[in-house]
């Protein structure tokens, strides 16, 4: 049963390269088989979750100890693996343009599968260099998906993809440098082994390595100084891709940073830096979102702001920070893709949104639900998320961060309210309305269902999340399991 976890990234990777061949035979077959594979893998992850209540480690090829390739499977990794498959299924590119050849369509499917494989690898890997390799794979898949464009590839999608590629490649150079610095000082890249030797990195050179890794992996996590690609890339790509990148891919990059923070860098300096960059991200993101004049750009900036909140939350030490960070991250993972799906047909200027609620009442209602949750209105999960964040921060007496979070919530309320009020305003000259596609509505409804389920079962979900956070900060068991005989 344990070995099956390897399939979570092996199968999508294999499928990604088999799809072009399969679609030679029949495109319909390749269109059907890929989602089915994802569904099967999602079910498999749930089974593993149920059978193995304890964390386990998989040593590939039975190379025990720091030399071999290690996959560390705890609740957190399994949760993310499940989120990857479920979210990709919801955001699957079901629709194609009429004039697209089946080759182009297959390429889109292949790239999405590649994204899934790399994401799954990132959530499980217990070795910095493996993380780097999966991260690059993820990056290449996302360049391709952005270059595929909104309706069809055009100058803007190539330009956005190229600019994204440049920032991301610069980030990779930094990440590689950070890895070199860490290897230079410790002679290992296994996370558990590094965690044992973290004293060796408690010096300026070690911290510089952390900064490099933060900048490198921060590109995809929409971290403050390296996020200028975000609005362009989301404007140029289809909203399903934008939702995947904002919701899922960013969280996996966050996961890498958090692993480094918890296992290798428990110093205050590292947390302070994360807090500072998080605050900057929130401020820049929220104000730019307020200034944005079209829906997609507004959502992109608000996504940057939300990830700033994630970083602020993870800068709180100990279990409280892990719990708050996970809550903020998962809430964003659910709500942002849904908002992008809603924006699919409302992507244009905010001025054009007037009176759109009449033509699509369901989507308008869903947008209100997600907006209320983002702001943090009590029964919805967004409230508990902000509550965890603020109570964690107040325990740390980080008053500046609290002030920023609260003030920026007001800004957030302002721009979300503006959108919703214009949706419901009466407008004489009704512009041409295009209905939302069924799959978009369906996916958004499912995500809203998850949100409502969480707000009803908040006690149970909170408890489960608490246990996951407890496991995730348990550094000792991480070291013992990874370097031991592999239980």
């Amino acid at each position: 049963m344990k070995e099956l976890i390897v399939l979570t990234f092996a199968v999508p990777l294999l499928m990604a390269f088999l799809l072009p061949t399969i679609s030679r035979v029949s495109f319909t077959l390749s269109k059907l088989i890929a989602p089915l594979v994802l569904l099967a893998l999602a079910i498999m992850v749930v089974c593993i979750w149920n059978f193995h209540t304890e964390t386990f480690v998989l040593h590939i090829g039975n190379f025990i100890g720091p030399q071999g390739i290690v996959f560390y499977v705890d609740r957190l990794a399994l949760l993310f693996a499940f989120a990857i498959f479920a979210m990709t299924l919801l955001m699957w590119p079901w629709y194609f343009e009429k004039d697209e050849s089946s080759d182009t369509r297959t390429r889109k499917l292949s790239l999405t599968l590649l994204l899934v494989a790399a994401s799954a690898g990132m959530s499980l890997s217990g070795d910095i260099f493996n993380l780097y390799v999966f991260y690059e794979l993820l990056a290449v898949a996302s360049y391709g998906l952005i270059a595929a464009g909104n309706k069809k590839p055009a100058g803007n999608s190539y330009a956005a993809a190229f600019r994204y590629l440049m920032i991301s490649a610069l980030g990779s150079v930094f990440a590689l440098l950070g890895i070199a610095l860490i290897y230079f000082q410790t002679g290992t890249l296994n996370l558990a082994h590094l965690s044992e030797m973290k004293e060796l990195l408690n010096n300026p050179a070690g911290l510089i390595a952390f900064v490099f890794i933060l900048l490198g992996f921060g590109v995809k996590a929409e971290l403050f100084p390296v996020n200028s690609w975000v609005p362009e890339a989301y404007m140029a790509s289809s909203k399903r891709v934008a939702g995947l990148l904002a919701g899922l891919v960013s969280k996996l990059a966050v996961l890498v940073i958090i692993k480094a923070l918890v296992l290798i860098y428990p110093q205050d300096e590292a947390r302070q830096l994360l807090l500072f960059l998080g605050i900057a991200g929130v401020i820049v993101g929220e104000f730019s979102a307020m200034k944005a004049q079209d829906m997609t750009r507004m959502l992109s900036w608000s996504s940057i702001a939300q990830l700033g909140l994630v970083f602020i939350a993870f800068s709180i030490p100990g279990k409280a920070g892990m719990l708050a960070g996970l809550a903020v991250a998962l809430h964003h993972l659910i709500s942002k893709p849904a908002m992008f799906l809603i924006a699919e047909r409302w992507g244009g200027s905010l001025q054009n949104l007037k009176g759109r609620a009449q033509s699509s009442p369901i989507m308008a209602a869903l947008l209100i639900l997600f907006a209320l949750s983002m702001v943090g209105i009590p029964p919805l999960p967004g409230f508990w998320v902000k509550f965890l964040l603020l109570s964690g921060l107040s325990a740390q007496q980080a008053w500046l961060a609290i002030a920023v979070v609260l003030i920026m919530t007001v800004v957030e309320t302002n721009y979300l309210y503006r959108v919703i009020s214009s949706l419901y305003s009466r407008d004489e000259q009704q512009s041409v309305t295009s209905r939302h596609r069924t799959a978009d509505t369906f996916s958004a409804l499912i995500l809203a269902g998850v949100l409502i389920f969480v707000s009803v079962q908040v006690q149970t979900v909170g408890q489960a999340l608490d246990e996951i956070a407890q496991d995730a900060v348990d550094v000792k068991s991480y070291i013992d399991l990874s370097l031991g005989g592999g239980s």
């Binding site: 690059e136 440049m166 610069l170 150079v173 590689l176 440098l177 070199a180 290897y183 230079f184 362009e232």
Partner: protein, 141 residues
Amino acid sequence: MFDIASILFAGATGLLVIGIGGMVLSEHLYRMLLALAIAEAGANLMLVLAGFKWSASAPIITVSVESIPAMVDPVPQAMVLTAIVIGVGVQALALTMIIRIRNAYGTLNMREVKLKMEQEFADMADLPIETRSVPARNDQS
């Protein structure tokens, strides 16, 4: 008298500085790509140096197992090999994008490309062209 290790370290740092500086400062897309290649070479050299021992031999066992001399750590070299392969792939991808951008916009100047891209976004969103100097319109409600 400098030893060869510090010269190589200085070289790697220099390549990194040239590469990153070039990526940030150049206006031309192709030059940015070349700068990226230089920066990657610097990072790779740094990674090789991280595990290199000058007095040691190549990590291949040619004599009996008992009398193995000190060997160079092969792990960074394996990693650099991976990093080089990834780098080449990404550069090839970037080059195809440069060709497509050139075909679509007829220019490779970053500033012009960005301007045309923003123009296309504005058309898509049905907005007037957004320029940095113009303040955001404030007609709500």
